[in-house]
Symmetry: C2
Subunit: 326 residues, 2 copies
């Protein structure tokens, strides 16, 4: 393996000059730069990142902490993070936390020892001390931590208004809102949006809390639809719940979208594959991941940040679970 000393010898300069040239730091004369560049070229020298890390206590690793990559929301996010990270020369370490503070803490400790450059985090434990105390750059996704940590999130409230209005405009008179877990910020924002939009109308509605889980959602919606047959619209706080609702409707023989219209939230790929295709408030998950990564890299590289809150717009995607508006 070629080392910086080999390059220095070949170029007839000292290792310090080579290092300065390589890092663009300090003074290097044009002559020296040329000699070093040639030596690097000829010897096909490549810098050893491990040796560099040992000194600088920095690396080009980024930790991506998320609850579970298996959750359909996250693969696209991970993809975006990885794409952007790669383009800036960073490498992504995947960490499934299961929302377990112990696992999160453990990852942070382990990766700190590897001199990780920063973290992108999706978690509800974000106020936990292991984040607050970390000196490392962190960017939060979807859920706010504290003022010092930048956040990238969808415009959940506006999205919920959009979704609710879509049902109202299409003639729904009795809407069931599947509210997400109250521990989740985005779920609460969606709830706020629903309340705002429904408050401006005069239609009846019901609210039921419902985990982001397919089978549970199906069960809950079956129960609700049987107990309240007058329901003619469902707005779900997640596509997975909406898929459960759609299944419940199918099981009960309710005709979607003629008797019952459904709108989900998230915009996961699966929505397209359902029959009928799921109308939904789509988040631009890729964009969220991409922005979060760019923001993180700016923090890592000490580029000043313009903002500390990045809101990504959502988009109403209408498919088969809603009628066309008259």
């Amino acid at each position: 393996m070629t080392t910086i000393r080999d390059v220095a010898k070949k170029a007839g300069v000292s290792v310090a000059t080579v290092s300065r040239f390589l890092n663009g730091s300090g003074y290097v004369s044009a002559d020296a730069a040329k000699a070093v560049a040639e030596a690097v070229e000829e010897l096909e020298y490549e810098l050893n990142p491990v040796a560099r890390s040992l000194n600088t206590k920095r690396s080009s690793l980024i930790g991506l902490i998320l609850p579970d990559i298996t959750n359909p929301f996250f693969p696209e996010l991970a993809r975006a993070v990885e794409d952007v990270a790669l383009s800036y020369g960073y490498t992504v370490i995947l960490c499934n936390s299961d929302e377990d503070p112990k696992k999160e803490k453990n990852y942070i400790e382990t990766l700190k020892k590897k001199y990780i450059a920063g973290f992108i985090v999706t978690s509800n434990q974000l106020d936990a001390p292991h984040y607050a105390d970390t000196k490392l750059p962190i960017v939060a996704l979807d859920r706010a931590i504290n003022e010092k940590i930048p956040v990238v999130a969808s415009n959940n409230k506006e999205g919920a208004v959009l979704g609710t209005n879509a049902l109202l405009e299409r003639g729904c008179k009795n809407i069931l809102f599947l509210r997400g877990p109250e521990a989740l910020n985005p779920a609460n924002d969606r709830y706020d949006g629903f309340m705002e939009a429904i408050g401006k109308s005069d239609v009846d509605y019901r609210i039921v809390t419902c985990p982001f889980h397919y089978a549970d959602s199906q069960k809950i919606v079956e129960r609700e639809l049987q107990a309240n047959p007058e329901i003619d619209g469902i707005f779900a706080s997640s596509d997975v719940s909406a898929a459960g609702a759609l299944k419940a409707a199918a099981v009960l023989g309710r005709n979607v979208p003629d008797d019952l219209q459904i709108v989900g939230f998230d915009g996961i790929a699966m929505g397209e594959m359902l029959s009928p295709g799921l109308s939904t408030v789509a988040q631009d998950v890729y964009k969220m991941g991409a922005i979060a990564t760019r923001v993180l890299i700016k923090r890592i590289e000490n580029t000043p940040l313009e903002e500390s809150f990045y809101e990504v717009p959502v988009k109403l995607v209408l498919r088969g679970t809603t009628r066309s508006v008259e």
Copy 2:
């Protein structure tokens, strides 16, 4: 930060003894071991993995190279790899290759510089020189490389026999087989299985090549169903294609499973959420990932391997796109 020298001083021994104790290498007397253990405890010493890597040219990083984490097959795989890696003290680096040999090569080069311990790879480029030449431990998933590289794969052929027989037993008389891309080993194994099973029957069949892509599959199946209305069973080489087929059936008003039965292949989570639920030949993706990771770690740690080919059984999962057998 506490270093090995601090520990040595506190324990009244040399750094060499501490290092030997920490690594369980060489001779360390009971007295010395006790003193070092106590010093480590008191100082809360933690070994610096970067410094270690620089010497040993090894790390506890594992590279997971896959085409695209967004493809529904891979998140569960990644999850399994991560879980097992974590339990053995390894960290997973996520690499989306898009099946692009350049990207793959680039990842391998980059990660080699970081002294990565080994790779788990899903790729069709596996015979490419950047794999063959790599001295590092590699385990291939789903697709064979060369004899030196262990492979973990589903029993695709048997799975296809299982899936085909499921349709035959349920009275299908005219089966459409959606064959996967011919460049893919697993797709070809599934084709072989289909041919074997169908050959033992006397029913009619058609074969059409079909990418693992939802919308394309839908289009192809719509065309086929219109041209060949006698088709009463579809066996798809992937669940995504099966989902497209199901959509096509819905669009054409074909009743599933009464007029038309569908069986997919893969067992991705989405299958459950479709209406009717998708019958499929499910791969145990988690298990594949877990085995691959254990095999890789054995190779990394030079534990001898019993085998070089690990076949994971598949399972027929019957849901709503097939009838109950009379």
